[in-house]
Symmetry: C2
Subunit: 343 residues, 2 copies
Amino acid sequence: MTRDRPPQDRATLPRRPHRVTAADVAKAAGVSRSAVSRAFTPGAYLDDDKRQRVLETAMDLGYRPNALAASLQGAATDLVGVVIGELGNPYDSEWVAALVLALNASGKWPIFLGGPASGLEASVTSILRYPLDALIVRGGSLGETLIDNCSKLNIPVIFSGRVISHPAIDCVACRNQDGMAMAVQLLLEGGRRTFGYIGGPSALSSETERLQGVQEKLAEADLKLAAQVTSDYSFSGGRGAMQQLLAQADLDAVVCANDAMALGAMSFARSDGHLSVPEDLAVVGFDDIAMASWPEFGLTTVRNPLDKTVAEILRLLEDRLATPHRPGEVVMIEPELIKRQSH
Amino acid sequence: MTRDRPPQDRATLPRRPHRVTAADVAKAAGVSRSAVSRAFTPGAYLDDDKRQRVLETAMDLGYRPNALAASLQGAATDLVGVVIGELGNPYDSEWVAALVLALNASGKWPIFLGGPASGLEASVTSILRYPLDALIVRGGSLGETLIDNCSKLNIPVIFSGRVISHPAIDCVACRNQDGMAMAVQLLLEGGRRTFGYIGGPSALSSETERLQGVQEKLAEADLKLAAQVTSDYSFSGGRGAMQQLLAQADLDAVVCANDAMALGAMSFARSDGHLSVPEDLAVVGFDDIAMASWPEFGLTTVRNPLDKTVAEILRLLEDRLATPHRPGEVVMIEPELIKRQSH
DNA sequence: CTGAAAGCGCTTACAG
DNA sequence: CTGAAAGCGCTTACAG
């Protein structure tokens, strides 16, 4: 058994270096190519001794079946595209970490696409050259075109964080409006009356829903927002937004569309605004990221349950793969009020 | 031009739904398969009108060349495996976000593998069935076996955060020891004399180097660590570690192996330990994550430059792909002392 | 400029 | 149980 083959020294180097092939193993083990293939196919008929021999030779040579060649035969690729946005805030990162783990655990290999919407469009176009088992899309603004392209290629799409009204698309999203209603309710019960709001990019449906949740709950109490600012879901964005808010009105509560901005808002209110939270000002967020529970902040917030979301994404994926033509399913995740010290 | 083909209603459903193929386009456009292929190959000879016609038909049908089939011809797959660890701390997340963007920007598609070392081993085995252009490995404990497997498959490996002494492996890592020396120097200049240390998992080479940097610099001043605790690189781990440290000695400085633990340590020292930072106790970290600069913390730390690291990973990747047989390159990144308020 | 044919690495009926 | 052959979707010499 020769481990080292002579280096390929043709005039033109091959574009990709040679990879050990079933034929190589067959020759080395003195069997047919078919036998090699069967050795790696669990149910296949093959003499036990022969299988052993093939497997050992393969091990020596470092051979493993080329998954891409195999997929040409019709097997699933186990490749799943995952479109994330800019990854600008901690909740995004937590989502990514949880999803990678869950996907890996069920033998799926996620290909990540990130960046601002402009570049994403091009990235998605490129990635669709691969026969993906599915495409998972996180929130964001990618829409119609993507669905259209994927349906032509028979690549199922699963949306997370956004409800799509399409008969054949699966999605999972948080009941944003209910979540915000709970938060505002808590503040009202605490006697707060003058509300400010820090929102995220207004193009996002989650933003629209969260704002609406706030406004409707306030309307029930015959109140409306005393001041309102749009920001970018980041900590520093939250700080800047709070500065603007404080210049506009004398508030006793600020509701933020996510935790990162809420932390920034709280930070600015305390350090630059010389306000104490919650005595002078209540601050609440949305998501329940790890930092919300840090003692420095003790942020009261609305949990956007990550584990449930990821678990549902995986269930939808498996169901979709098992039954490609099933109707699209919409899964709504129930948010949960987390009371800490900031309200 | 017929857009809708009759649904495939065989008794047995195909394992993967049909994907539009070059042959489909050829038939619809009335040209040969070769012509379709050429239409998508930039330099290829093809009548302009014909190319137009093919491209339009392809657009209508939603066709794009199957990248996997193409790769059988020897083209690069543009698929890059990325082995991350547990993604437990913010620096990991920042690294992932930056790498995704950089890779996407240069037309590479990262497949992420995460989780604890045990599961990772199996994941890597699976992912090697794909003809990856390269494998990028973040820190961690995956070692010899991986390098061996990859070299047999001719898949180049690039390590980040760890120096590998192997003639054909590229790696990029921070000068951890120098970084820690700078931090300790600063504390010594500030008059600190009684040092505690909070380390990460001791199996990691970066941990060994950072600890050594601290010890050697202290030795230069005829000092040694008054107390030392090992933790897990997390915020809560840092809190717990600080609790232990305070029980062991009366410190005036705590050096932490990363920022997340430093923030936790600072948090515990202030809230539970009733110490003020930096008056009673100096705290420094390593990495310079986003939260280190938040006003609540103002953490003095050693920047582990992310942009440079990622840029070097990409350069190494491109050089390796262009010159597969070049000798392995080791790139050392210079850390940078970031002075804030905690020292 | 163009089509028919070979071949990439694999799996899977097919015929022993 | 097993090997030779066909075929997955593509690209690229080859021969017009």
